[in-house]
Amino acid sequence: MSDLTRQGLNPLTESEPIDWSGRQAVRNRRRRRRADVRLRVYGVAAIAIAFGVLAILLVSLMSTALPAFTQTHIQVPVDLTGEEYAIDADDPGRANYRAMVRNGLMDLFPDVTGRTDQRALFDMISAGAHFEVRQRVLDDLSLIGRTVTMALPASDPLDQLHKGLVETGLPESERRVNDQQIALHDSLVDRGLISRPFNWRLFFAADSRFPELAGLRGAIVGSFWALLICFLLSFPIGVAAAVYLEEFAPKNRFTDLIEVNISNLAAVPSVVFGLLGLAVFLNLFGLPRSAPLVGGMVLALMTLPTMIIVTRAALKAVPPSIREAALGVGASKHQVVLHHVLPLARPGILTGTIIGLAQALGETAPLLLIGMNAFITADPGGLLDPATALPTQIFIWADSPERGFVARTSAAIMVLIGFLVVMNLIAVILRQRYQRKW
């Protein structure tokens, strides 16, 4: 309005008719239309930026994760014939497997002599390879007394080299494989002794200091236990609290306090819940550090507000006519809720629960504070054993200096996001299947 008035075009005060096709008016219209287009472009640009960042995030993580899904193996002839390595069928766990692997490597390259050259050779195989040999012998005692060719995991630098991730053009001192190792690698490739199968260890091995041996099983098991505890605590308490607030609560100061509290709790930073867990569960009650039980309890406290809020929404969606009909035929208030309202609200409650658990699965900070970031090479057997969880495993790996862990961190993120996607899909399917219009 003010613009129009300034230009003397106010029809209320001017008796003269407006010249809508005059130069001034056309320019004015154009300017205003340009402003409109500009705003629209800003909007599209904002969305494009958000989409672009999401795409960069996913693509960069996927492309860095890719190398971790395969693992380079070297075919090494392992001599299991006895005397020299003190291998004994009665006690097969104690032989000198390290020497076996090393001698096998030397058999592959008889012309490598001299200490430094041999060390370069030994560095090609994973420092944990002899445990693998030992495990295979323990699994199959009939191997003893034969020479068996085993595919053993290559060390991280060689793995990187074989995947083409090492810039061989750099000066020798600036890369982690030396020229000799490159030559040995090429010879292995020529002889067909190197293979790159799918890296099952990534899912089925526990954590390790050596990236080529590290896997996520411990973290997945730990996350499972923590989430189970989180569900067992937050689901019944959350649903019960929501039922109370939605169906039974009188309007008084106490219920007001509860409501304000729940909305506040939903906004408390997660790290504060970690502090609570540390001070109360660990310090006051003396529960063990790094235990999935404590992790689950802390996550449950965090998930509780979400649980209550979604359950209340689901209960609210059940029309009052259902309640009135049940009350009308003589049901008690508890029977109305238990027999009619809750079953009808179940799909909503379930989808909300899954979404709440998905949030808890990705939560890291509170788990760090109660010590679920321990380095553990065996998966937790119970609720009180030290454990890690998926997100804390990602945090540990992201901190590790070995280059192989970069790919593994991304791969672990892919696994975590995979779980989240599956959970959200289940929630969406549940919602679609059971959604009803009243």
Partner: protein, 459 residues
């Protein structure tokens, strides 16, 4: 032993249910007058009376058992004078005893330690057995007690519903309990901290060097706990995050509400929400893997020295994280403006852009401001992105290319590793946590108040 006890209680409660249920059904079929409640309620009454109190008893036993045994064990030690030990030394002795009891011997422990460890193990088994016996006896006794109260005239449904009412009320009160727990633990530990470090120095001191000697012979700083640089760093990163998230979030919300057709909206909204569903540890890794090196390169190209842990990288990624939050709140605020205001403005001949900037935005402003405040509170409380991508060293600077540290980073780094509750290093984390809690809480309350006030306008 604990799980066996719980299983036993559940089993006895189930038995109680069956017993009362079949009994009630028998009475029903004998038809000497109808029962006052359905047989199922008889069963539930006995099961609740059996299970709940005994489970509570066992839980409180477990909560107390550890500290009681610890105290008893310490009182039996004669070789050293326990009363003169500090809390830390006492904990050390106890953990040695515990590891001996668990069968892990390190080196050659002194004989009194060995004896105490052996005694500890013995007492623990004894306590476990006593727990089992107590749980069993309590459950059985309660079962018999509840069963004798049953009769055809007994209104079991009322009794059961009473118990359930109590249970759901207790569940609702869990929220208060949690808040109380947070406040008490933060205030309690911060109190201990402020006895060591004065409040004024903590809030306004300019030197933050929490590295202190834990052993007497260790080389380390004295420890300085002036948290002002930490607060400044938190603010700097939050400001950067908001500078990224606010315009992008607001613009996308405007576009989605006012310009986009429903099909575009149906696709774009869920994808934006996807950004909110990504775990923050993933954003943190993204920041160190992609964003920070990228910014270093850009900075290098124009001759700027960008720190590897620049506030800019951490803040920018955090902005991406809170973007969907801002956009969905602005979306709600814009959508809540009545259609008549849009129609009125358009009828006057205003273009869409004029309608948006001069009518809708002012009308939706309180809601948007509330949303922005909530986003600031999130940015301040966000942990993993800054733990992974921001620096560790407190640095009082306004230069976004340098590394700064934040409150959450300090909390996490102070508490990772071994923690004992008697040194200022650990306690400082709780003081920072208290500040964080108070800051985010007041921001949230303020935001909710603004949003609520605005809503009343149109209802």
């Amino acid at each position: 032993m604990v799980s066996i006890t719980f299983l036993l209680i559940v089993g006895i409660a189930a038995l109680g249910f069956l017993w009362a249920w079949t009994g009630a059904r028998k009475q029903e079929t004998n038809a000497r007058g109808a029962l006052a409640a359905r047989p199922g309620y008889h069963g539930a009454y006995v099961a609740l009376w059996t299970g709940l109190p005994s489970a509570l008893l066992v839980l409180s036993w477990i909560a107390l058992q550890g500290s009681v045994i610890d105290r008893l064990i310490l009182s039996t030690i004669d070789a050293i004078n326990v009363a003169t030990l500090s809390a830390g030394e006492r904990n050390l002795v106890l953990s040695q005893i515990r590891s001996i009891a668990a069968g892990n011997l390190f080196g050659q422990p002194e004989p009194w330690l060995l004896a105490a460890g052996e005694r500890y193990g013995r007492w623990q088994t004894l306590a476990g057995q006593a727990l089992l016996a107590t749980g069993f006896a309590a459950a059985l006794g309660l079962l018999v007690f509840a069963r004798t109260r049953l009769s055809p005239r007994f209104r079991a449904r009322h009794a059961v519903e009473h118990v359930i009412s109590g249970l759901i009320l207790a569940s609702a009160a869990a929220a208060i309990l949690t808040t109380g727990g947070i406040l008490l633990s933060l205030v309690f530990e911060s109190w201990a901290f402020f006895r060591l470090v004065p409040l004024g120095e903590f809030l306004f001191g300019l030197n933050w060097e929490p590295q202190i000697a834990i052993r007497a012979d260790q080389v380390a700083g004295e420890g300085a706990f002036g948290a002002a640089p930490v607060f400044a760093g938190t603010l700097l990163i939050a400001v950067i995050a908001m500078a990224v998230a606010a315009p992008i979030g607001l613009m996308s919300a405007i576009y989605l509400v006012e310009y986009a057709n429903p099909h575009v909206r149906a696709v774009v909204k869920p994808v934006l929400e996807l950004l909110a569903g990504i775990p923050t540890v993933v954003y943190g890794f993204f920041a160190i893997l992609v964003v920070a090196p990228f910014m270093r390169e850009i900075g290098g190209a124009v001759g700027l020295d960008v720190s590897p842990n620049s506030a800019l990288a951490a803040g920018a990624v955090m902005g991406i994280m809170i973007l969907p939050f801002i956009s969905s709140i602005s979306d709600d605020a814009l959508a809540a403006v009545p259609q008549s205001m849009r129609d009125g403005s358009l009828a006057m001949g205003a273009t869409k852009a004029e309608t948006i900037t001069r009518v809708l935005l002012p009308a939706a402003l309180p809601g948007i401001v509330g949303g922005l405040l909530l986003a600031v509170s999130r940015a301040i409380g966000e942990t993993m992105i800054v733990v992974m991508a921001a620096g560790l060293i407190a640095n009082l600077t306004a230069n976004p290319l340098e590394g700064v540290t934040t409150v959450t980073v300090q909390i996490v780094t102070l508490l990772i590793g071994d923690t004992s509750f008697d040194n200022p290093k650990t306690l400082a984390a709780f003081a920072l946590g208290l500040v964080l809690f108070v800051a985010t809480l007041s921001l949230n309350v303020l935001a909710l108040r603004i949003v609520r006030k605005y809503r009343e306008k149109y209802e």
